[in-house]
């Protein structure tokens, strides 16, 4: 047993000496390989963690949201419809929701302005999300100037900055009272943005939705399972940028493996001949080739996976910021809960290590079986 281990260690020694002969090439290969693993592993960890958080955070979202449409666009919802819908069997209540977007010309950021159903701030005061506080520098007690649709200035006092831990849902929120909302947007009274409907039995949601559509054919109900499913499909591998990213990575892996698999150079074949002539068996030569491939791919995977984890969970995936931010000014700080998906990591391991190692061994097979005296002919 220890003879076998000693044999492996000796062969690893020689494999390392062999790799170190072309130090620059192999170190840059290792670096690039690791970077690719970091990119893919980061994306995997990030998306996985985000989806988990979405599911956990949105479980108390409204059971159903009913929108009104006109010519394919969102229209304002008459509040009176809420009373009708509230009368449907199984519906506990239908509360009008007031929310919209405010574009701040100073910071060039988009904020989401919303009025909560209950527990509104007093007229003249607002709660702001932590990202807004970060961007504008406003904090508790400051007066925030907003421009109404009539062109007037509206000063609202910040009485609460929403917690930073909740940034993922509230980063860009401005929570106002109904009076201030309607004044800010010249929002007509008797109308709301949409209706939030709560039902007694979640299993009746689909039936109730159908009833609502038959009552008001110009409405569009969105039930909670659809809301959650949206976030299941987020960053779907079919989505634009993700396809590009993963394709590039797969292509890189193929290129690495191809470079190895396209056969041995004359120098390498000569060297295998020498090894066989001094007493190495075919299996020893193949073991050497295995370790040459495994040393690089295994190191790349282990380092890359560790770095990816640190990148996503200690540095809030800052490398993705540029891609995710797009043209937005406001960008939430992703303090995601650490979560490792062992299944995905195992797949990544097999994708990283197996093709490269196989591509190092297989072309050597033929050369490894040469007769020991081939180097003398």
């Amino acid at each position: 047993m220890s003879a076998q281990l000693a044999r492996h260690r000796n062969i690893i020694d020689f494999a390392l000496s062999s790799l170190l002969r072309r130090k620059t090439k192999n170190i840059s290969l290792l670096a690039v390989y690791t970077l690719i693993v970091v990119a893919i592993a980061s994306a995997m960890l990030f998306i996985n963690a985000l989806k988990r958080e979405a599911a956990a955070m949105l479980k108390d979202a409204p059971d159903m949201v009913v929108q009104k449409l006109v010519a394919g666009r969102h229209d304002l919802m008459p509040v009176s419809r809420g009373e009708v819908i509230g009368g449907i069997t199984g519906v506990r209540g239908a509360t009008p929701r007031l929310w919209g977007y405010y574009y701040d010309a100073v910071t060039r950021a988009n904020y989401t302005v919303t009025v909560p159903g209950g527990g509104q701030p007093a007229a003249g005061s607002i709660y702001i999300g932590s990202a807004i506080a970060r961007l504008t520098g406003f904090s508790h007690g400051d007066l925030m100037p907003l421009r109404t649709y009539k062109g007037e200035s509206q000063l609202l006092q910040v009485v609460r900055v929403l917690p930073a831990e909740a940034e993922l849902v509230s980063a860009d929120l401005i929570v106002v009272s109904e009076k201030d909302f309607r004044e800010l947007f010249s929002f007509p009274s008797g109308f709301a943005t949409d209706l939030a409907v709560s039902v007694g039995n979640p299993r009746e949601l689909a039936t109730i939705a159908t009833k609502i559509v038959s009552l008001f054919p110009d409405t569009r109900p969105i039930i909670k399972s659809e809301i959650l499913r949206t976030y299941d499909a987020i960053f779907d591998w079919r989505g634009g940028m993700i396809v590009v990213m993963f394709s590039v990575a797969v292509l890189a892996f193929i290129i690495f493996a191809w470079d190895k698999a396209s056969g041995l150079s004359a120098e390498e074949r000569r060297e295998i001949g020498i090894l066989k002539s001094i007493g190495w068996e075919t299996s020893d030569v193949l073991l050497l080739k295995f370790w040459e491939g495994a040393i690089i791919s295994l190191t790349a995977f282990l380092c890359g996976a560790a770095m990816a984890y640190c990148h996503v969970f200690f540095f809030s995936a800052s490398l993705f910021e540029h891609a995710l931010k797009g043209w937005a000014v406001l960008y939430p700080q992703f303090r995601l809960a650490p979560a490792i998906n062992a299944y995905q990591l195992t797949i990544l391991f097999f994708l990283t290590v197996v093709p490269y190692t196989a591509a190092t061994i297989i072309p050597s097979w033929r050369s490894a079986t040469v007769d020991p005296d081939s180097s003398m002919r």
Binding site: D60, A61, T95, T112, A166, Y231, I234, M241, A337
Partner: protein, 98 residues
């Protein structure tokens, strides 16, 4: 020191590091539940429906509230000019007539 010793040490260290990170992930679950509770509380308080991931466009800020028409701000042939639109796929629909 032998080269193989260095390599095996580095690999072992890496494995230990990964194990520690896995433990960290496990331990972080508790804290995660706590911060999730804060967020879930706000979701309930303000009746929110979406995560604040992209603040560029309406249909990426509230993807679950968006519909197929939303990206066509100007006319149906307009290209999707918000980068986050390539990251968010359209919400799925379970009913006809939408």
């Amino acid at each position: 020191m032998r080269k193989s010793t260095i390599f095996l040490l580095v690999t072992a260290l890496n494995l230990v590091l990964l194990l520690l990170l896995a433990v960290h992930a496990r331990m972080g679950e508790q804290a995660a539940v706590a911060s999730c509770t804060v967020s879930a509380g706000l979701v309930k308080e303000f009746q929110l429906t979406d995560l604040c991931l992209f603040t560029e466009a309406r249909y990426t800020r509230h993807p679950s509230m968006a519909d197929f028409h939303a990206p066509f701000q100007d006319h149906p042939g307009a290209l999707d000019h918000f980068p986050s639109g390539s990251l968010v796929s359209p919400p799925c629909f379970s009913r006809e007539g939408l």
